[in-house]
Every structure is written in structure tokens, then in C-alpha cells.
């Protein structure tokens, strides 16, 4: 996937949580800027699992993300690992 495709898929997951696209800029923090809470984040992870075909519950890296850009970077890195044949993120 290209970074643009990843950004689009992630942004769609946030839109499904009724956050307008115009608010989805890379520096936005989920809790502080987008008004989400920990329960929202669980639902968001489920949506992202389905979109990217991965399991995220036991993933330590995803627990560190704070901004939209963090998530974009996470999935860009994940995609690169997959393409390299490294399935460790799964």
C-alpha cells in the first residue's frame, strides 16, 4: 500500500466515528484534539484490524500512538515489514 492509501484507510476509520474529515490532520492527538476516549480507541483498533487484516490487541507499538501521524507511520512500517516477508507485527 502507498502512504496515501494508508492515510485514506485510517482516515475512513476515524470518519466512521463521525469525526469530520477536515479535522483529520496529522498532528491531531486522539484524546486531546479529537475528543476520543479509551473505549473509542478499542473500537477504532477493531475497525483498523479489519481494514488492514491484522491483530492489534497484543501489539505493544500501537499502544504508543498519540497522533494521527503516529498511526499512519505505524501502518506504513507494518506494510513494509509485510512486504519484506516479516510477519512479526501480526
Amino acid at each position: 500500500m502507498t502512504r496515501e492509501e494508508i492515510v485514506e484507510a485510517v482516515n475512513t476509520a476515524f470518519e466512521e466515528m463521525e469525526i469530520p474529515r477536515e479535522e483529520l490532520t496529522p498532528e491531531k492527538e486522539f484524546f486531546k484534539d479529537l475528543g476520543l476516549d479509551s473505549l473509542d480507541m478499542v473500537d477504532l483498533m477493531i475497525s483498523l484490524q479489519r481494514k488492514f487484516g491484522v491483530q492489534l490487541r497484543q501489539n505493544e507499538e500501537i499502544k504508543k500512538v498519540r497522533t494521527l501521524n503516529d498511526i499512519y507511520d505505524f501502518f506504513v512500517k507494518l506494510d513494509a515489514q509485510r512486504n519484506a516477508g516479516d510477519g512479526s507485527a501480526k
Partner: protein, 408 residues
């Protein structure tokens, strides 16, 4: 009349298959409309009376609150908000610790339960399940979600007694106000239609067969050819208020609640019996200073089952004979289960306002076993001052309430 503080109804909110305001509900009932249709989306061939809920209305609940709500809680929350608005309660009064809420449903959101079990057992398992499932499926989902939307600070209770839940909620709310625990209580019930509940009723032979019948003819309370109930959905919420509290704030008083009673049917959890219904009705009259014959209208439970309608008719005949008009609204709305008690009271409040009794729909030939009553079979002008409302539930639960004009 019961020795405690007087309790009046000062507001009501409805979400129903025949309209989302009391006025629309009344006008469509009196026009003889039916909301029953074949649920083709279920693939079971069953009929039901679903609510046509505009997405804009659902979205009017902020996502931060709505994310905890399945359909049944959305129905309840919307009706509760309408009820609070109708009562003219200020935000301060709604948020007061003297204002509570008592709302029940037969079960949490069955749609969400089915979806969750599919994910858990057939799909990807618990890793793919939303934590919101708990809040949508919990037994008290209608009560806490309505209280959350309205930001109610008082007591929150959620009686779950199937088809008697709504009337039980009103009875509990009445007791809370009468005894001084709260000054205002939003009370009622809600249920969503689902193949799970309709299917169980069919297995018990309580659900009507849709075969060979136009959908709007399937539910036929008290009728000779009736063969079961049809499930409906909706929510009916009443604002109950202490009489002096209502007077002091200049509230519009819709009716006074005179008495409430509930008792168990000792013989069976699945079949009502006339002797315990009789006991329940006698107890509501024991608490008041007028006789059964001085009642102007009986809003029957009568769901269109063979056994239940007969048991209620037997009890009504022994108390009232042909002296008091009787009708059931289940031919129009189906059986809205937990919502039925308060939703049908809201319809009766409109009947009182318009001075018109709504007939039992589809009652072409009264079953001789349900005879000896004054069945309302066409719209009938009537000065309605005192009303008996009956609700009976699987589990062997009877409930009855008397309400009407304010005693000045």
C-alpha cells in the same frame, strides 16, 4: 388516595410505529391504521410492527452518548427527551437530584446480542468485539442511557418484567414520588422487534401465523379467529410529578395517577389466569374512592392470544360486565411488550383530550369466550375521566393502574 403524596402526569414522549408524537399516534390510531408488516428482512416469514426511525432523529443523539446505545436504548432515550420537553421541565429540574428515572425493557438490544454472538462464535472472536456490546445488551440499557442523555442525577431503576415492564416502571415511579423519595420521575418502557423474541413466542404458540392473512389483519384482540400476537416496537415515557411540585411550577397536568397494583399469577409463568388478574384489578380499586362501574374506559392488555384474551375477558366480565367500554390497541401497534403499558397510556391521554375512544382494530366477530363486555368497535365519543390500564407478562406478572382527571 393512597395516603401518600399525590402523583400526576405532566409530560409524555413517544416513539412508535404509528408516529413519534402523541398527536400523530392518536390521529393514526383513530384513523384505523395498522403498522404491522411482514419482516422480509428477517427471512422467517413473521410479521411485526417496527418503528420507522429517521436517521436524522437517531443522529440527534450525540455520538458520545449514542455509542452506548443499541436500538432499544435509542428508542427509550428519544422518547425520554421528548417527554422532558413536553413537561416543560427546565434543565435545572431535569438535572436535579430530586428527578429520577425508571425505565425497563424485556431484554437489552437483541440486534446487538445477535451481532456480538456472531462475532464471538462464528467470526473472529473476542478480539473483534466492541466493548460497547455490554452497554447495548445490558438489562438496564434503556434506563441508564436515557438518564445519560438527559443527565439525570436522581435514582435510576430498570424493572425488567417483559410486557409489564413499562407499567411496572410507572408504578415504581409513582411509589417513589408518593413516598417522597423523588419529586419527578421519568417512567416507561421500550422494546425493539427481533426474530429472537418473535421466534420464541412462535415456539410457545403465542405468536400469530402470518400465513394467508393480510399483515394488517393478523393481530385481532378478542376476535373469534385470533391466533396469536404480533410483536411491535417503540417506547413510551411519562413524566410523573408530585402534584404540588407540578402546581408550583405551573406545569400542564395531563392526568392524575390514582393507584397501581402488581401481583403474581400463581399457576403458571407462561399463561395468565383470570383469578389473579381479578385480584390485581380489585386491588387498584381498593385504593380509590370510586367503584369499577364509575370507570369510563378500560385499556385492555389483550394481545390477541387465544388464552390471554380469554383470561382477561373473564376477569373483566366478572368486575364490569357490559358497564364500561373496553378496547385494545394491539391490532394497530402489535404488542410493543415492555413499551405497551406506558405507550398505550399516552394514546389514552390523547383519547381523553379528544373525548374519543379508539376501537379494537380487526374485531369483526367477538369471540363468545370474550363476550359480555362493552367492546369498542368503532370510534366512540366519550367523556373519559377515569381509566383502568392492564398489563400482564410472561413470568406470571400482573399489573394494573388507575388514572384520570385531576381530583380538585
Amino acid at each position: 388516595m393512597n395516603g401518600g403524596r399525590r402523583v400526576v402526569i405532566t409530560g409524555c414522549g413517544v416513539v412508535s410505529s404509528l408516529g413519534n408524537t402523541p398527536e400523530e399516534l392518536y390521529s393514526r390510531l383513530v384513523a384505523g391504521e395498522s403498522a404491522v408488516r411482514i419482516m422480509t428482512e428477517w427471512g422467517t416469514g413473521q410479521a411485526a410492527a417496527p418503528v420507522d426511525l429517521p436517521e436524522s432523529e437517531v443522529r440527534s443523539i450525540p455520538r458520545s452518548k449514542r455509542r452506548f446505545m443499541g436500538r432499544v436504548a435509542i428508542l427509550s432515550a428519544l422518547a425520554g427527551r421528548k417527554a422532558a420537553e413536553s413537561a416543560g421541565l427546565s434543565e435545572e429540574e431535569v438535572h436535579s437530584e430530586r428527578t429520577g428515572c425508571v425505565v425497563g425493557s424485556t431484554i437489552g438490544s437483541t440486534t446487538e446480542m445477535e451481532s456480538s454472538f456472531r462475532t464471538l462464535l462464528v467470526g473472529a472472536g473476542i478480539a473483534d468485539m466492541s466493548p460497547m456490546a455490554f452497554f447495548k445488551c445490558a438489562s438496564h440499557t434503556t434506563a441508564f442511557n436515557m438518564a445519560s442523555l438527559l443527565d439525570i442525577a436522581g435514582a435510576v431503576y430498570s424493572p425488567s418484567a417483559a410486557c409489564a415492564s413499562g407499567l411496572q416502571a410507572a408504578g415504581i415511579g409513582m411509589a417513589m414520588i408518593s413516598s417522597g423519595i423523588q419529586d419527578v420521575v421519568l417512567c416507561g418502557g421500550a422494546d425493539e422487534v427481533s426474530p429472537l423474541v418473535s421466534g420464541c413466542f412462535e415456539l410457545m404458540e403465542a405468536h400469530a401465523s402470518a400465513e394467508g392473512q393480510p399483515p394488517d389483519r393478523i393481530a385481532r384482540p378478542f376476535e373469534r379467529g385470533r391466533n396469536g400476537l404480533v410483536c411491535g416496537e417503540g417506547a413510551g415515557i411519562l413524566v410523573l410529578e408530585e402534584y404540588e411540585h407540578a402546581r408550583a411550577r405551573g406545569a400542564r397536568i395531563l392526568a392524575e395517577i390514582y393507584s397501581y397494583s402488581s401481583c403474581r399469577c400463581p399457576g403458571s409463568v407462561s399463561q395468565s389466569d383470570s383469578s389473579s388478574i381479578l385480584r390485581c384489578m380489585r386491588d387498584v380499586y381498593r385504593q380509590v374512592d370510586f367503584t369499577p362501574a364509575e370507570t369510563d374506559y378500560i385499556s385492555a392488555h389483550a394481545t390477541s392470544t387465544r388464552q390471554g384474551d380469554k383470561a382477561e375477558a373473564d376477569a373483566l366480565r366478572s368486575v364490569f360486565g357490559e358497564s364500561v367500554p373496553v378496547s385494545s390497541l394491539k391490532g394497530h401497534l402489535g404488542h410493543t411488550l415492555a413499551a405497551s403499558g406506558t405507550l398505550e397510556i399516552i394514546a389514552v391521554l390523547e383519547m381523553m383530550k379528544h373525548g374519543m375512544l379508539i376501537p379494537t382494530r380487526n374485531l369483526e366477530e367477538v369471540d363468545p369466550e370474550c363476550g359480555g363486555l362493552d367492546h369498542v368497535r368503532e370510534p366512540r365519543p366519550c367523556r373519559i375521566r377515569r381509566v383502568l390500564k392492564n398489563c400482564f407478562a410472561f413470568g406470571g406478572i400482573n399489573s394494573a393502574m388507575l388514572f384520570g382527571d385531576v381530583n380538585e
